[in-house]
């Protein structure tokens, strides 16, 4: 009951924030990116198209997340909407979690639509220049997108925490995007520094200090399993994927718990 009302409220807020235009722009960007990059793939246009399409989704969705979290959570405190929304006989925690899960469903829906759109486009491109092995594989596609959804869940939780805690609006944007950049890249950078030892003078020390980040940030780069769907080989699924799932989910839930706790403690002037 509460959930349905939350869902409607979330939708109304999002629509007021020109959410539908943003979604359309994201669809357009994905479609254009997928189609046009296929022209530049010499021997593998469908694979390049799918690859670039997935990259665009992974880069644009955090912007959508930040925009909506800004509308749903940050503006509550910035524009003092809490004077109305917190007067209802619902705990603060329920307000936060209700909106969060409603937003999560919206995000999953958007991801689904853009996934189907991309699937269609890649199949179309594959038909133009068929190779011996087709680029897209049904259940692998679902797996890859679920891991992308998990990645976005962690970012959503962080954005919510920042929205509750922050006092300036741009902090949500910068914090979320910075977190995304660091946690997606540090795993691969540690790897590359290990192999390309000539880049920095003391690569071992660099690797160790970057390795410390592994205790603080989730390895979102490891959630990028797109090789599964690009080449269709089950060997690309990492053997420790349950641990990956568990650690990322744990991190997201932890961040959400922190957000709830921060909200409970928040004093409104």
């Amino acid at each position: 009951m509460h959930f349905f009302r939350d869902f409607l409220v979330t939708l109304r807020i999002s629509l007021r924030a020109k959410f539908s235009w943003v979604i359309l722009c994201i669809f357009l960007a994905c479609a254009l990116g997928t189609l046009l990059s296929a022209y530049f793939g010499g021997r593998q246009p469908a694979v390049v198209a799918l690859d670039v399409g997935v990259s665009i989704i992974r880069l644009l969705m955090p912007f959508l997340i930040v925009m909506l979290v800004q509308e749903l959570f940050f503006n509550e405190f910035d524009r003092r909407y809490y004077l109305a929304s917190l007067t209802y006989p619902r705990g603060r925690c329920n307000l936060l979690l209700g909106r969060f899960f409603a937003f999560l469903w919206v995000l999953i829906f958007v991801l689904l639509v853009v996934g189907v759109l991309q699937f269609g486009l890649v199949v179309f491109i594959d038909a133009i220049y068929p190779r011996s092995a087709p680029a897209v594989y049904g259940h692998y596609y679902l797996i890859v997108f679920s891991f992308i959804a998990l990645d976005l869940l962690v970012l959503m939780a962080l954005a919510t925490l920042l929205a509750v805690v922050a006092s300036t609006p741009s902090f949500v944007l910068i914090g979320t995007l910075g977190f995304m950049l660091v946690s997606r890249s540090y795993g691969d950078i540690v790897d590359l520094l290990g192999r390309d030892a000539g880049l920095v003078a003391n690569s071992e020390a660099y690797r160790e200090s970057l390795g410390v980040l592994g205790y603080l940030l989730p390895d979102l780069g490891a959630l990028d399993l797109r090789m599964l769907v690009l080449y269709g080989r089950p060997e690309f699924l990492p053997v420790d994927w349950p641990w990956l799932l568990l650690s990322s989910l744990g991190y997201a839930v932890g961040l959400l718990a922190l957000a709830v706790w921060a909200l409970q403690r928040k004093r409104f002037a």
Binding site: G41, D51, R195, D224, R233
Partner: protein, 270 residues
């Protein structure tokens, strides 16, 4: 007023400085290639996006007026190979532009990474093996990678294995030992297509053995070197020149019978 004056003074002074100082242009040797970790960061932590866009960029800008900028490409394509070794366009371009453009070692390095990453693909180990044989004359490594390619291949397995065997046969100086080896391989081959191919080459080598044997007999009888192959027919040592099932034939160069090799323009036997 003060702001206007200060900005005017700044522009005047900087223009004067520009004109007054002698232009010591420091030329950067070669284009800058950004290292892989930094490139990863610049592309938002997405190594696949980095690899894709870099390959597109290199394919478009790596060539200047029809000439490949090999010095730049060989560093830049190594970077792409570090980011996503499985990238098909990268290894294909590297083989085409680098290996055959004078940078064989760097091109082969990209192929080695692709061969390791793309464990289902027969082309990278085949290209790698061929390059090892052709450019570095490393027949052991060539045979190893050709066998790897044959294991991964669907249609081409027999062809790759035949190539690996023929590389080893060429190495053997004595044609009779080579023929023994080839016959052995033919008998051990299980693939019917491979057997067929090796049988043809065994017949060709038998022809060479016959020609050289006839030459030896001629030289023992006449006590002088053979001038032309026709003399063997005239003396009756051979009834007819042996038929080559591959239709390539034999040639007589510098007093020695040899298998006629396909001549490719610009690529001579070294």
């Amino acid at each position: 007023m003060l702001a206007l004056f200060c900005f005017t003074m700044f522009s005047v002074v900087s223009q004067w400085r520009d004109l007054a100082t002698a232009p010591e242009k420091t030329f950067i040797e070669g284009r800058v290639v950004i290292a892989a970790p930094l490139l990863l960061l610049l592309f938002g932590g997405d190594r696949f996006l980095a690899a894709n866009l870099e390959t597109m960029r290199l394919a478009a800008t790596g060539m200047d007026l029809g000439q490949a900028d090999t010095g730049y490409l060989m560093r830049a394509q190594q970077v792409v190979a570090e980011l996503n070794p499985c990238h098909e366009d990268n290894y294909y371009l590297a083989n085409g532009l680098l290996t055959w453009g004078g940078a064989a070692r760097e091109g082969t390095e990209v192929l080695r990474r692709a061969s390791a990453c793309r464990f289902w693909d027969e082309l990278p180990p085949f290209f790698y093996g061929f390059n090892k044989f052709f450019f570095e004359r490393d027949k052991v490594a060539a045979a190893k990678y050709l066998e790897l390619a044959a294991q991964r291949a669907t249609d081409n397995a027999a062809g790759f294995r035949k190539f690996a065997i023929m590389i080893q046969v060429e190495d053997i100086q004595d044609e009779r030992v080579a023929l023994e080896f080839l016959r052995n391989e033919r008998d051990q081959a299980k693939d019917p297509r491979l057997k067929d191919m090796l049988a043809k080459r065994a017949v060709r080598l038998e022809g060479l053995v016959a020609l050289r044997e006839a030459q030896r007999q001629y030289e023992k009888l006449q006590d002088k070197p053979l001038q032309a192959p026709q003399q063997l027919l005239d003396m009756g040592l051979l009834e007819a020149f042996p038929e080559d099932p591959l239709r390539l034939g034999y040639e007589f160069i510098d007093g020695r019978f040899m298998l006629k090799k396909l001549k490719v323009a610009g690529v001579e036997d070294r």
